[in-house]
Symmetry: C2
Subunit: 302 residues, 2 copies
């Protein structure tokens, strides 16, 4: 099934206790696409500047990623710099240079307009909605990520976009902020009134929780002895989740649970090395192996 | 199988966003005993003062709890007062009056000395060790809880006691403090060198994780719409865990996992009401029902 992602492609400068990178490829749509491409064909919509070279684009090559929708504009590519604390629990943004991303107006190439699975990565909710207006067929699944900035600054626009969203995929702080409710089950109930039928809460080192109607499902983070760089973990999770779901072609309880597991698998691999280093070099056998490890980590009989 | 617990019996004053109690029965050994008694026979060792009435003792009556080892001493019972923050994430201790607990010297009645399952609740590690010296038969399982106070103040005594401990059951902050290691897998490896073969890490609203040799197992906290009072959750977890394990009579991977689930079941019930109100009124059918809910919450097929 066709999976469309719209979001940022960026250069990141990252500092963690394990090392430093001055300028490596990143961005939500990048992590998402690479993760999802292990499961299905991905159509990418984003924008890069003149500093984005063939070498940078190589990450998409040889994968099931269509980059027809990756616009090249005069100027520089979106740049983000951040530093993680000793325990990786906190990160400080040192620089955000929107560059060409400031003028980003997502435009879907004709073949993308029939996409059945759509992931709207964290961008202006008005732009997210403009993507949905370009789709000519009712999509099976629209999933959306957002952040505190949009929750605070453009609450009305976000609400309007949420009305057209099936799956909201945010972290616990965002869940609490959006619903003004600390308890996650009550927060979920509030969010269901805004449109989404499924809430996927990303909880970092504690894993992820999915809530829909009256059911909840949790998956832990994979215990790793070393996390080198948490950047992109959430977007890799989203890529694994949506990639798996699109490949399954059905949306039911069992498939959503598997999507949660494959999302967690992809997130757990991403943090093992810097940037996309681990994610881009994965073998399919490693993905299945870790999914089985998630089984061992969580399964019991009564 | 016989299960021995040594720890505090106390009166608590508790303030949470859901209410206030000036003086209700509490203490680690109390929560532990009541939780464990749903699974097996419990032998309790603790100390109370003259203010501990028949009405207070009623919580132990009609259950499989032997209180021969509950000493009555001149003076007042241990008293603790605490207040939880709006989100229940933090608690402030307002008062700690040791009273008779300051002179507590655990003495095991003769029939207790053959206990095969032993839980040493959070008390002075020297006293914890004195309990083990009184046991005449090599116990099957010695589990231990401790806290920052002992980790900081009596590290050598704690180390000596840990040498005789099979299962260490502490929270994540204590795990990190004891091992001087933030990563929980590496922390576990450090702790295994001190004696314990199994580490059970209690993570509050995020559930619990068990690590032993090269395996890990996680169980989430049960998602509840309202948590009224977190007091005693960890001790109820320990009671469910050890009670189940003693009732199973075997210690293997499958039983340890079930113990994690039943521990989580008991902890999740405790927080639903103030103090022991919910825990003491449970039906066995409710315990099994929630264990099945834990299955639904975590299980998936690949």
């Amino acid at each position: 099934m066709s999976l469309l992602v719209v979001g940022s492609v960026a250069f990141d400068a990252i500092e963690t206790p394990f090392g430093k990178a001055d300028r490596i490829l990143g961005g939500a749509a990048t992590y998402f696409s690479v993760a999802a491409s292990y499961f299905t064909h991905v159509s990418l919509v984003g924008i890069v500047g003149e500093d984005f070279t063939e070498k940078d684009a190589a990450v998409f090559k040889g994968r099931r990623i269509d980059t027809t929708g990756l616009e090249r504009a005069p100027g520089k590519t979106f740049f983000w710099a951040g530093r993680y604390s000793e325990n990786m629990n906190e990160r400080t943004t040192l620089a955000t240079e929107l560059n060409v991303f400031a003028e980003f107006k997502p435009l879907l190439p004709e073949p993308y307009r029939k996409s059945e699975y759509i992931f709207l990565a964290n961008i202006d909710p008005t732009l997210q909605r403009s993507v949905l207006h370009q789709v000519t067929r009712r999509p099976k699944v629209v999933a959306l990520d957002t952040m505190n900035y949009w929750i605070e600054r453009t609450p009305e626009e976000l609400r309007e976009t949420l009305r057209h969203t099936h799956i909201l995929m945010i972290n616990d702080a965002e869940t609490r902020q959006l619903s003004n409710e600390h308890n996650l089950l009550r927060a979920a109930r509030h969010i269901f009134k805004l449109g989404p039928k499924v809430l996927v809460i990303k909880r970092g080192e504690y894993g992820a929780m999915m809530v829909h109607s009256r059911h909840a499902f949790t998956v832990p983070a994979f215990p790793l002895e070393q996390v080198h760089d948490p950047t992109g973990a959430g977007d890799s999770f989203a890529g694994g989740f949506m990639g798996y779901l699109a490949s399954a072609g059905r949306v039911n309880e069992a498939e959503l649970r598997r999507a949660m597991v494959y999302g967690s698998v992809m997130g757990s691999y991403t943090v093992e090395k810097f940037g996309l280093d681990r994610l881009r070099s994965l073998k399919r056998s490693e993905i299945h192996q870790r999914a089985r490890h998630f089984s061992k980590l969580t399964q019991f009989t009564l």
